[in-house]
Every structure is written in C-alpha cells, then in structure tokens.
C-alpha cells in the first residue's frame, strides 16, 4: 500500500448515499474551506501535486476521522507552515499576525474569474519519446510507490500495481506528479489511458467483460 488515501478496491465501506443536484455545500464552513484553499493556492508557494501530497501525509487516524473539507484545511495549514508563509505561533494564536511579504500576490475579487478560467493545464512539451501506442500491452510498476522519493507522492493506486493492461489512448505529455510534488521539477512525460480487465485486478470480478481504466505515466509502465 502507499498511504491511507489509496483506498480503491478496499473492502468494508458501507453503502453509497446518493444526493440531489441542488446541494452544493452542506455547511457554510465548507464554502469557506474550498474558497480559502483555492485562494491560498494562487500565492504560488505550492502546486496541485504538493497540495495533494499534503493531504495524503495526514496521519491515517486524522485522514479517516476528518471530513472532506477538514482534510483540505489541514493540508493548507500544514503547507503554510512548511513553506514559511505563516509561523506555528501565528497558527496557534500565541503570536500576533505579522504582515506577509507575499501580500501583493493575494487574490483579489476582480481577479477570481480570470484565475478560475485559466486553471492549471498539466500538458507540457517533453523530450521523452512515447514508447507505447493504443492497443499495446503494458504492465504497471510492481510497487505502487514513488520511485524517486521514499514515501513520496505517486498516482499509481495500489490496486493497479503489477497489473497487465492495454493502452487505450495517449493523452500527450503531462507533468509527472512524482517529481512535481517534491519540487524536483515538472519532468513531463507521456501519459496514457490504460484499460485493465476487472479479472486482472480482482479475484472475484462482478462481470467477465468489465474493465477499469487508469491514466498512467510512461515511467509507471513497462512492456510485458
């Protein structure tokens, strides 16, 4: 296993509870948590892979007891301190807040529409040549772990490690989270949609023709 967030295929969770389309947020603080997370992201002190890793690095006991937006807030607080944006004393209330040199970067209301519209595309030019084409058979890395940084961020779920699949499509070349989450550069490389028969992943698949498709970077894959 990688970390507690990597829960695909886990047994023991209860039923899924559908809900209507009219509910966007369940509490006012959920709204603020989402907006605060997006706004602090524009300060430029971390990227999306760093922020995912921050949530994944929550202690398993915290990850499981926190609701969704509590995880977000905890991740933001941890990153703000780790990146020197706020001090532990400011966070705990022991010290009065001091003005930040980053204040000029703070997102202002008139900038919001433009920032959200731009988003954060992950495709980049790359000199890594695609090794696979649609239809090719591939096998995923045996260990669902970051091969560069011990305990680091990766996007290969444990349930799909060491599995045989076939390439459905090449998405182009995208930023590699395993590198980008650790300030080691974007290291773009080919990204593929890879289909795995359910029977390759599970001992008791529900249906012989079912499949699971994952988006996987070239360095996660080998030729069989």
């Amino acid at each position: 296993m990688t970390r507690v967030h990597d829960m695909g295929g886990r047994f023991g969770d209860g039923a899924v509870t559908p809900e209507g389309e009219d509910v966007v947020f369940h509490a006012d603080w959920h709204r603020r948590a989402l907006a605060l997370t997006l706004a602090t992201g524009t300060l430029g002190k971390w990227n999306i892979d760093v922020s995912r890793h921050a949530r994944e690095c929550l202690a398993p006991t915290d990850y499981m007891r926190f609701s969704y937006y509590e995880k977000w807030i905890a991740g933001v607080a941890d990153m703000l301190v780790a990146r020197g944006v706020v001090s532990r004393e400011e966070l705990s209330g022991e010290a009065a807040p001091t003005p930040s040199p980053l204040a000029e970067k703070a997102l202002k209301a008139p900038q919001v529409a433009g920032v959200l519209a731009r988003g954060g595309p992950a495709d980049r030019p790359s000199d890594v040549t695609p090794l696979f084409a649609p239809g090719d058979a591939v096998v995923t890395r045996k260990q669902p772990e970051n091969s560069i940084v011990p305990g680091g961020h990766t996007r290969l779920p444990a349930y799909a490690a060491g599995a045989s699949g076939r390439v459905l499509r090449l998405h182009g070349t995208h930023v590699l989270p395993d590198s980008n989450a650790h300030d080691l550069g974007e290291a773009p490389e080919p990204l593929y949609a890879v289909a795995f028969p359910a029977s390759e992943l599970w001992a008791h698949p529900e249906h012989p023709r079912d499949e699971v498709v994952l988006d996987l970077w070239q360095s996660y894959l080998e030729a069989p």
Partner: protein
C-alpha cells in the same frame, strides 16, 4: 527539499479542533497577514454555488444527442469543443468525453482524491468524495449502481474510469427512448448530473 511534509509534525493540530472554527481561525489569520481577500473568497463561492454546475454538462450532452457532427467532434477532442461553448478552466483543462452504448456503460471515479470536471459538473457531490464510493466503485461497480437504482443488462460491460491524472471525464449517457423530436433545451432537462458521472441514466421524457 523532498521531505517538506514530515509525517510526525502536523501544524494543523495547532488550529482549534472544531472544523468551522478551524476555517474561521485560518481565514482570520490569513486576512490579517494580507494573504487572502475575503471578497475573493465570496467570489469563488458564488462562482461554484450559482454559476458553474451540472447544467453546463447537460447542455453539452443534449447537443451531442442532437447533432452527429458535434458528437463526433466531442468524442475526438472534448477540451476544444466544450471550450467553444464557454466551458473551460480549473479542473477542466483536459477533457475527454466517453459515450455509453448498449455494449459499454462508463462510470467515473477518483480513488486517490476527488478529481472531477468542475467546469461541466461543478463541485462534486458528497458521495463522489466519500470513502465508500472511492473504495468500492472500481471493484463492484454494479453493486454501487444498484444503490443508485440502476440495473444494467447482462450484455452491457462496465468501464470504470479512475481519474488518476489531470484528465477529466464526462460520460455521455444514452439518449432515452421517446425523446425523438425534442429540442436541445428540452433534452438537457433529461440529463442528470449522475448520468454524466455514470451512476445514473438520463431521465425518460
């Protein structure tokens, strides 16, 4: 600095334990430091609560049902096609549309976090972000579908898309029987959010 998040030193524990107070404390601190503008937070909230939601995706699906050339273009390059309709930006930078047929039923999940096509569907529903959905839908999609009241024919294969990268998936549900002759606006009313995630079917007219 590869180890910038120590496993044993979590500053978030310094915030008050109650979630609403944690958020309030953090917002107050960051505002005092000049790092966030509460009016910008209001603007973000208004965007996702009132302006961007699943009716965007429904408009795309209804056009795909009505216009074969549009459908072909959408399946070929969804990012470009939906951008022309004004749907682009955060969490929709790289879009792929997948089509349900009698042979294949598509379902979207993000087992590792909560990746979801925001410009087309808005903020994901609670169940999409739940441990139960993330854990189960890759292993037992048909049991999960049953919890949504969907029972697929035996001859239909399920293809579950786990959104492990920055590519976001939109399911084009099957056009319901009896919808011939309906215009795009009427068709869009048949397209539910869940049908575009794959946990539901389009409504019957």
């Amino acid at each position: 600095m590869p180890h910038d998040h120590s496993d044993h030193d979590h500053p978030h524990a310094l915030l008050p334990p109650e979630p609403a107070l944690r958020v309030k404390a953090l917002e107050t601190l960051l505002t005092a430091k000049g790092l966030i503008d509460p009016a910008a937070l209001d603007e973000i909230i208004d965007t996702y609560e009132n302006r961007i939601g699943p009716r965007n995706g429904a408009e795309v699906v209804a056009r795909a049902w009505s216009d074969p050339d549009f459908r072909t273009a959408l399946l070929e390059d969804a990012t470009a096609v939906v951008a022309e309709m004004g749907f682009f930006g955060r969490q929709g930078e790289h879009m792929v549309a997948v089509e349900n047929t009698d042979e294949v039923h598509n379902i979207v999940v993000c087992t590792l976090c909560s990746c979801y096509p925001w410009p087309l569907l808005g903020i994901p529903p609670g169940w999409y972000k739940s441990d139960a959905y993330r854990a189960r839908v890759v292993r037992e999609p048909r049991k999960v579908l049953a919890e949504f009241g969907v029972d697929l024919p035996e001859e239909t294969a399920v293809r579950v898309w786990d959104s492990t990268a920055e590519v976001r998936y939109l399911v084009i549900p099957q056009r319901p029987a009896g919808s011939d002759g309906m215009d795009v606006a009427a068709l869009a009313d048949l397209v539910t959010r869940d049908s575009m995630i794959g946990t539901g079917l389009a409504k019957a007219p």
